[in-house]
């Protein structure tokens, strides 16, 4: 395997959609022409300044960007290490980073003349963001969501319906995000003429991992400029939670060429990496092919995909975006994990010390932020993506804490 050149020459993926050995386009032949067409359409849009201008306008006036970069003073004091900064993507319209990507993709779908949108969702944040942009542009939207997640994320299901989307509960498998994605793929292969599939994470067949990364990279670009404006230098580390990995790659990507900046992803360790109940694909899985790309997957010896587990419905996906697989293998990024219990504790700590109720997804990054801040040491700077707000999780958290609402 070729080594990653950690300079600004980083130019993955290649023309075949590969990040080293990972990525690619593993889809049924029926979808292959559509995937190739999408690749062309995205390349054209990416090269067209008017596309970026339109996107920037919506990001500013509709999504509410730039999101603030906030110095978490009390959390910094509590942990006694480097300065901790939050990139406040939970303040975006719809409450998470997901809308950055949805806005980009819906503008592309319109450009391509597609008239119907489908999406998969786990926690419901991507479903809500998809339903939101569909409402804004008047396009019908079908969201596939595992029946288990429909039950544990009732507020988001209601939001999607209010926004006019049809929510389709998926009952196959363990009825979570992976199964929702299978069903969305089945819809896409059935409705090839008019349908655009907004994938919510930086995974799937090429060009999705690249495209979603590009749309989410606004997070890292802003954070870099904002920190520079505040303190005149680069951070020592950037940290984000990882399910499929879209918020993390969005934060990491603009820093990949900056060799001094550590890139740290935090996977969901669920009930612990020793047992089967986690969603840490990099630390507990091995390479394989699922949902159109080659990447690390939780799987058994026969290649059957295992169901991930996490307290966070947004992280319990048995795979990870292919670019993370590559950054992992080359050592450019480091990956750690946090258990359900650690995330719950961090969720409460952040609420009490900073007056910010985080989503359970970034609570995994929050669970590791103290040790990372201490490793970096006093005077250093760590930027963490607070990628979602916790309103959607209060029922689940209350249940785990034994509180009846």
């Amino acid at each position: 395997m070729t080594a990653l050149n950690p300079s600004n020459t980083y130019a993955w993926p290649d023309a075949e959609g590969r990040f080293g050995d990972y990525g690619g386009r593993y889809v049924a032949e029926t979808l292959m022409p559509l995937v190739l067409e999408l690749q062309e359409a995205y390349a054209a849009a990416k090269a067209d300044p008017s596309f970026q201008a339109e996107l920037d306008d919506f990001l500013e006036h509709y999504v509410g960007r730039p999101s603030p970069l906030y110095f978490a003073e009390r959390l910094t004091a509590h942990h006694g290490g480097a300065n901790i900064w939050f990139k406040r993507d939970e303040l975006n319209h719809t409450g998470a980073h997901k809308i950055n990507n949805c806005m980009g993709q819906i503008l592309l779908a319109r450009r391509m003349g597609r008239t119907r949108i489908i999406a998969e969702t786990g926690a419901g944040q991507h479903g809500v963001a998809s339903a939101t942009v569909c409402a804004r542009f008047g396009l019908p939207c079908t969201v596939y969501m595992g029946a288990t997640d429909v039950a544990r994320q009732a507020p988001n299901v209601f939001r999607m319906k209010l926004l006019g989307a049809e929510v389709f509960p998926v009952t196959s498998g363990r009825a979570t995000l992976k199964d929702a994605m299978n069903e969305a793929m089945r819809d896409w292969v059935t409705n090839v003429a008019d349908t655009y599939y907004i994938i919510g994470t930086a995974a799937g067949p090429h060009p999705y991992p690249e495209m979603v990364r590009d749309f989410q990279s606004v997070i890292g670009r802003e954070a870099k400029a904002q920190l520079h404006a505040r303190i005149g230098k680069l951070p020592d580390a950037v940290v984000a939670a990882i399910g499929g990995g879209s918020n993390a790659i969005g934060l990491f990507h603009p820093f990949i060429g900056d060799e001094t900046v550590r890139l740290i992803g935090v996977e969901a360790a669920g009930r612990g990496l020793d047992g089967p109940d986690h969603a840490a694909s990099l630390q507990g899985g091995r390479p394989g092919v699922l949902h159109g790309n080659k990447t690390y997957l939780l799987q058994d010896d026969d290649g059957q995909i295992l169901e991930g587990h996490s307290i966070s419905a947004g992280l319990d996906y048995p795979g990870i975006g292919p670019e993370h697989a590559w950054l992992h293998d080359t050592g450019r990024a480091e990956y750690r994990s946090a258990t359900d219990q650690e995330a719950l504790e961090a969720f409460q700590l952040c609420s009490k010390l900073e007056g910010i109720i985080p989503a359970l997804e970034p609570s995994h990054a929050l669970a590791r932020i103290g040790e990372i801040a201490r490793e970096v040491g006093k005077g250093g700077n760590v930027v963490m993506n607070l990628c979602g707000r916790g309103d959607k999780d209060i029922f689940a958290v209350a249940e785990h804490l034994g509180v009846k609402l």
Binding site: Y26, T30, V189, V289, Q299, I305
Partner: protein, 275 residues
């Protein structure tokens, strides 16, 4: 060594009739019953057996084959056992071609080279991998060519002439035409729409063309058999297993009845049309 697929299609061409390709899921509803079903299919009229190997996430399958996968996995089916089933089948049947069909991750987990060796040794004649388009199939094709197993490619309604050239490169045995945009067993194919596609693919590949994904009834199988070299039926056979289990009936005899009806329809299709 002459490939069993080539021999079989040549013989059928000589007889002037189309092939009936029967798809069942290996291990459905359990390994032993599944073996009895596969063993019975040639006598019921199957010219080629397409044997699914189960995967946890069968993205191109409709509900019947999804459920068949789940039944097989619950019954403990693995790729090694699928190959064992083929080996056992070959003890009595040296002639009926067997094509394995499934998803790439299961093959990757086995290892491409190891799988190729084991498949050839067991008596597998061809492989269809739903989620491995030609662009990603280089290594797999190398291994299968090394052991003389055909990698059968899929063409779809969305495959245009330019792309068809890519699809048919380094393929052998036959080309599988996915007759509808959709998952298996959900939409019905139309013989009128299929005919020009079959002609196009035959022309580009020089190979027989099998049509599947949208054929559930003997009548439609017969229509397709008039325009294609083979008609593939899967979901309708697999549904017989599910129905038999629901009422505690014998899945083997139910599948054989259905296969016999489909085979008769396919085999008499052209003579019927000419009469």
């Amino acid at each position: 060594m002459t490939n069993r697929l080539d021999t079989r299609f040549a013989a059928l061409r000589h007889e002037g009739r189309a092939a009936f390709v029967a798809y069942v899921m290996a291990g459905d509803p359990d390994p032993e019953t599944s073996f009895e079903i596969v063993r019975g299919l040639p006598a019921a009229g199957a010219d080629v057996i397409e044997l699914g190997f189960p995967f946890s996430d069968p993205m191109a399958e409709g509900v019947p084959i999804q459920k068949a996968s789940i039944r097989a996995l619950k019954a403990g089916m693995t790729l090694a056992k699928v190959l064992g089933l083929v080996r056992r089948f070959r003890e009595d049947d040296r002639d009926t071609p067997i094509v394995l069909m499934g998803y790439l991750n299961v093959i990757l987990a086995r290892g491409l080279a190891r799988f190729a060796d084991e498949a050839a040794d067991a008596g597998v004649d061809g492989l269809i991998i739903v989620d491995c388009p030609p662009e990603e199939a280089g290594d797999l094709t190398d291994e299968l060519e090394r052991v003389g197993v055909s990698l059968i490619r899929l063409a779809a309604p969305t495959t245009d002439d330019a792309r068809l050239q890519t699809v048919v490169k380094r393929t052998s045995g036959f080309v599988y035409y996915v007759s509808v945009a959709g998952v298996t067993g959900a939409k019905a194919a139309s013989a009128e729409a299929v005919a020009p596609a079959v002609a196009r693919i035959r022309e580009a590949s020089g190979l027989p063309v099998a049509v599947g994904f949208g054929i559930r009834t003997p009548a439609l199988a017969a229509e397709i058999a008039r325009v294609a070299d083979a008609a593939v039926v899967g979901s309708a056979l697999v549904d017989e297993i599910a129905a038999a289990l629901d009422v505690n009936a014998d899945p083997v005899s139910k599948v054989m009845q259905k296969a016999t009806a489909l085979a008769e329809a396919v085999h008499s299709a052209r003579s019927g049309a000419e009469a």
